[in-house]
């Protein structure tokens, strides 16, 4: 399959306190980024149920990012500890089922790291372009509007 011209559709869950502010900073700093990303703000990365990621991937999203505060900086003390653990096992589950776990990306972006936000988005878009469209969207009968 040629991936020429393939524009992935990506979803990011950003926590309210760090990553969403980081994304905001990247915006007001006018950092250039690919436009493949849709952002959903959540109060904490620990609020992101793995079910949502599974649903996103099978609804035609080619990749899902979960961005939270750095470990130790969580607004809710250890919300992101759970995120890290859940997504560690979720990545393994995706791999077991045959979905490349690289379609899932977990990282920590603080409110001051606008540049890091830009960086992880660019790298993730490149990574998904490499991987191609999600193989499971088709199984759901989803017509992806790219």
């Amino acid at each position: 399959m040629s991936n020429n011209g393939f524009q992935p559709k990506l979803l990011a869950f950003c926590c309210n306190w760090c990553s969403y502010a980081g994304a905001d900073l990247a915006g007001v700093s006018r950092l250039q980024m690919p436009h493949n990303l849709r952002v959903i703000r959540v109060m904490c990365s620990g609020r992101v149920s793995p079910e949502w990621v599974i649903k996103a991937l099978s609804s035609g999203m080619d990749g899902v990012m979960v961005l939270g505060c750095h470990i130790g900086d969580c607004h809710y003390i250890d919300g992101n500890h759970r995120t890290k653990k859940r997504f560690a096992i979720l990545a393994k589950l995706l791999g077991t089922m045959g979905i490349n776990p690289n379609r899932l990306y977990l990282d920590w972006v603080s409110a001051s790291e606008g540049v890091k936000f830009q960086d992880v988005v660019i790298k993730f878009v490149d990574r998904i372009k490499e991987l191609g469209p999600t193989p499971i969207g088709a199984y759901q009968g989803v017509k992806v509007d790219r």
Binding site: H81, I89, L90, L93, T96, M97, G98
Partner: protein, 266 residues
Amino acid sequence: MIDKVRQLVVDLLDSGRADAVLALANVHANVQPYLYKKGDSLDSLALWPKYSMGPILKSIQAAQPDMKLAVVARGCDDRALVELAKRGQIDLNNVQIIGLACTADEATECECANPYPANIDVGNKVDGVASTDLLAELKGKSYDDRLIFWKQAFDKCIKCYGCRNACPLCICEECILEDDSWVKAGEIPPPFPIFHLIRAYHLSDKCVECGECQNSCPMDIPLTSLYALIRNEFNELFDYIPGAEIDRKSPLVTSLEEDPIREETA
């Protein structure tokens, strides 16, 4: 072996240390769960095929919480009871466990890696089934081939919810898999891979390898293999075996200091 179980059951009932003993009975050539009480004949006592004792014990305790119960438990039952107690589903303080180690044949039939309870009262510990041909094959497959394998397997699913109903650890009061926004009612096969991945995630820190999901599957989907892989992954990450330690919480609900991740993810 069965005589020893009989003796233990009689002792518990006659001495009054247990009001009732949950075991299996052979009634008219069918084996069923049975709640033995004092004075019942134990001629009918049976050990195989196994039934999942955890949920039955839970329903009995729900009806009468103060009953002193004993239960004949294999390795998987033992782990299920521990895991249920940990999650507040049953109270083990009033329960005595008669630990029954499975025979080599039984372990082979269940493809069970740990066919013995923590404390063995009857039977001898035998080695479990470390791996199967299918597990080795699945591990060797590429992501794409695995996806095709599971897609084909789950295409057979008639959405009977048998895996969920039979699972001793499926304990949610409201099941997300019955919610129309996740799984549409009246459509088979259920959406792949949402249905099975959500169940797999929910069971990742609970699965006690009883194999009831596969035993109850009318379409012979190799669920025990899926869950064996998941248990391995979970154990590699967190050094945790569901049902093994009653005092240890699931790593998914603790912080990184309490329970670190062993292997960093890619």
